[in-house]
Symmetry: C2
Subunit: 351 residues, 2 copies
C-alpha cells in the first residue's frame, strides 16, 4: 500500500496533536486533525489560513481540519487514531471515541499521565484497554508515544528522537512510514515502562525546577552536583516503579525516561512551575497563576494521581521513593518549599 | 580501628585532589596532600594559611601538606593512596609512586581517561595493574572514582553522589568511612564500565557544547529535542563500548555515565570548549586558547587517545559510534564545525 493511500485521525489540535502532523504529512500521509471543544478557535484560525496559534506555524496542506462537533467525519476512512489531548481530557474524549467507532482501529496515545474514574486511578493504556474490551470484546491495538519531543521543535523539523511502546505489528509498520530525516523512531514492547516514565518525568521535572529556583538564587551557581543527584534519583525511582509494575527496569534509562526528563527539566512548564516554588511562591498559587496564563502544569496532577496509583498498589512511597515523597509533601502538605530537598541525599538508597 | 587512626595520601593538589580531602577529613581521617611539581605554589599558599587558590577555600586542618620533592614523607604511615593528577600526568606520577612504595597499598584513582606508553593506549586501571604486577607480582587493590562530582562544589559540601568502581573489600570499607551527609557513595564491581564512562563523558560533553554553541545562536532556542538526542546517543555509545569491552552495559546509564555527563554537559571546560567550536572557533585554536587560560580540556586528549584505544581493539567507529566518529572528524580532520552533527539523526541505530 502506498503511503498516500493512508489517512490518520489526530484527536486534539493543541501543541502535540498539531506538531505530530508534520512528520506524518511530510511522508505524504493525509491527516484528519480534530479539535476538542477547547480547540475550536484553533481550528477556525487554521481553516482560515492563519498559522496555528500555539505552534506559530502553518500546518501542511495535507492536514484536513475538523471542529469538535464533527468527530464522525474526522473518523471516516482512517487507518489509525492518534489521541493527543491532555491527560485531564483523556477519558471524556476516549469514551466518545469508542462510542463513535464502528470498526476496530489501532489507537496511539501521545497523552501521558494517569486518569481517574469512579475513585480508581489507572494508567492511560490500562484504562483504554479496559474500555476497549467492554466495547469490542477484544484487546486494543495500542501504542504510547514517548521520548524527548517538544512540540514546537517537532513542528520546526528539529531533529527529534522518539520511542514508541507497542505490541502491535500494524502500528510498528505505520510508524516506520511516519519516520523522516528529522523524526527518528525506535520501538519497545514495554508499554508500561514507557508510560510510567513519560508520565512521571513531568513530576520529577518539578523537583528539578525547585532545585533550580532555590539554588540558582544563592551562592555562585554551585548546585550542579546536587541537581545531578536529583536527576539520577528521578531515574532510579522510575526504574524502581517500572520493575515493581512488572515492566522493564531498563526502559526509564532510555529515551522515555532519561531522554524525556532531560528535555523536560531544562525547559517547559513543569520545570518552570518547580522554579516558581523554589523561588518562594506557594505551590497552589503557582499552579493557579500558570493556569490563568493558559499553562496547565501536567506534572501537578500526575503527582497527585500518581501517588494514589502507586500507594493503592502497595508501594511504600516514603521508603522506596524518597524524592517522590518529598515532592508530594512540598506541594500537597507543606504547600511551599522550605529546603525539604536537603533531606534527599541521606534518604536515597545506595548500593 | 577508629577512623582517627587512619591516614590517606592524596597525590595531586589541584581541584579534585584538594576537594576530596573535605569529606575524608570531615570524618576525622588525616590526609597527606602531596602536590606535583605543578602544584608547589598551591602547597606554598596553603602552608601559609591562605585559601586553596583553585577552590578558593581553606583546607581542613587535618590536611598535612607536602611539596613535590617530599613524596617519601607523604607516603609514610598511610592506609591508601588516592591519585588525583590529570590523565596527562598520570603515568609519570604513577611510575614514581610504584618506585617509592615499599609495601602494597590500595590505590584509588580520580584521574579519568586513557594513557599512552610506547605507542600503546591503555585504560588507566589497565596500565596501573600492569605496572603494579611488574613491581609486586600481585594484582593491584584498585578503585576508580566516578559520578557527577564537581570539585568546587564538593569543597562547599554541596550534596554529591559518587560511585566507586572496585573489587576490593578493603577499599569499600574505607569509602564507607569517607561517606558524609553530603557525600553519598555507591559501589560497583564494574571498574571498566565506570572508567570508560568517566573518561568518555568528557568527549561527549564536547559534542553537547558544540550543539549549544551552534544552535543557541540561532532561532528561538529551539534545539532541546536535538540536544537530548545527542545526550542519549552519547549514553548509548558508552553502553555499546562498555558491553564491547566485557563490562556491564548498564553502568553508563547510572551515575558514572548519565549522571556525570549531565553535569559535564551543563558546565565545565569540556562543554565550554565545544561551545567555542559551535560558535565558529577553530578546534585547535580553541584548545590552545583555553590552555593558555590554564584550562586543560581533558576531553580533547581523551577523544584522540580513546579513538586509538577503541580502533586498535577492533571497534568499527564509523558504524557503531556515529557520534564519536563525527566529533573526531570535526576536531581532528575538518578542524572546525560546519554543521556535521546534522548527519547524526540518520546515522544513529534505531531499534
Amino acid at each position: 500500500m502506498n503511503s498516500s493511500d493512508r489517512r490518520i485521525a489526530v484527536l486534539g489540535a493543541g501543541y502535540m496533536g498539531s506538531a505530530i502532523t508534520f512528520p506524518i504529512t511530510d511522508n505524504n500521509i493525509e491527516v484528519n486533525l480534530w479539535g476538542t471543544w477547547l480547540d475550536d478557535e484553533i481550528i477556525y484560525l487554521c481553516k482560515n489560513n492563519k498559522p496555528h496559534p500555539k505552534l506559530d506555524r502553518h500546518l501542511n496542506p495535507q492536514v484536513k481540519l475538523f471542529y469538535s462537533d464533527d468527530l464522525d467525519n474526522a473518523l471516516k476512512n482512517i487507518d489509525a487514531i492518534i489521541i493527543a489531548v491532555s491527560s485531564e481530557g483523556f477519558t471524556s474524549v476516549y469514551d466518545i471515541l469508542l462510542d463513535k467507532m464502528d470498526v476496530e482501529k489501532p489507537i496511539i496515545a501521545v497523552t501521558k499521565g494517569f486518569v481517574e474514574k469512579d475513585d480508581t486511578v489507572y494508567r492511560i493504556s490500562e484504562y483504554a484497554d479496559l474500555m476497549y474490551k467492554k466495547r469490542f470484546g477484544e484487546n486494543i491495538k495500542w501504542a504510547s508515544i514517548g521520548g524527548p519531543v517538544k512540540a514546537v521543535e517537532l513542528s520546526r523539523r528539529v531533529p527529534t528522537a522518539t520511542i514508541i511502546g507497542t505490541a502491535s505489528k500494524i502500528i510498528r509498520r505505520l510508524f516506520n512510514i511516519f519516520s523522516t530525516k528529522y523524526y527518528r523512531i525506535s520501538f519497545t514492547d514495554d508499554i508500561i515502562g514507557l508510560e510510567l516514565s513519560s508520565a512521571l518525568k513531568n513530576v520529577y521535572a518539578i523537583a528539578m525546577g525547585i532545585c533550580d529556583g532555590y539554588y540558582s538564587n544563592r551562592e555562585d551557581d554551585l548546585y550542579h552536583n546536587f541537581k545531578s543527584l536529583i536527576f539520577m534519583e528521578s531515574i532510579e525511582e522510575m526504574a524502581f516503579l517500572s520493575k515493581y509494575f512488572g515492566a522493564l527496569k531498563s526502559t526509564p534509562y532510555g529515551l522515555a525516561g532519561t531522554g524525556d526528563l532531560y528535555v523536560t527539566a531544562s525547559s517547559g512548564r513543569n520545570s518552570l512551575y518547580g522554579k516558581r516554588i523554589g523561588m518562594g511562591q506557594r505551590a497552589d498559587t503557582a499552579y493557579e497563576d500558570m493556569l490563568k496564563g493558559d499553562k496547565l502544569v501536567e506534572g501537578y496532577n500526575t503527582l497527585r494521581l500518581g501517588f494514589k496509583y502507586i500507594e493503592s498498589r502497595g508501594v511504600d512511597v516514603e521508603k522506596d521513593l524518597p524524592l517522590y515523597d518529598i515532592l508530594y509533601k512540598i506541594i500537597f502538605e507543606d504547600g511551599r518549599y522550605n529546603g525539604q530537598l536537603d533531606e534527599l541525599p541521606e534518604r536515597i538508597k545506595i548500593s
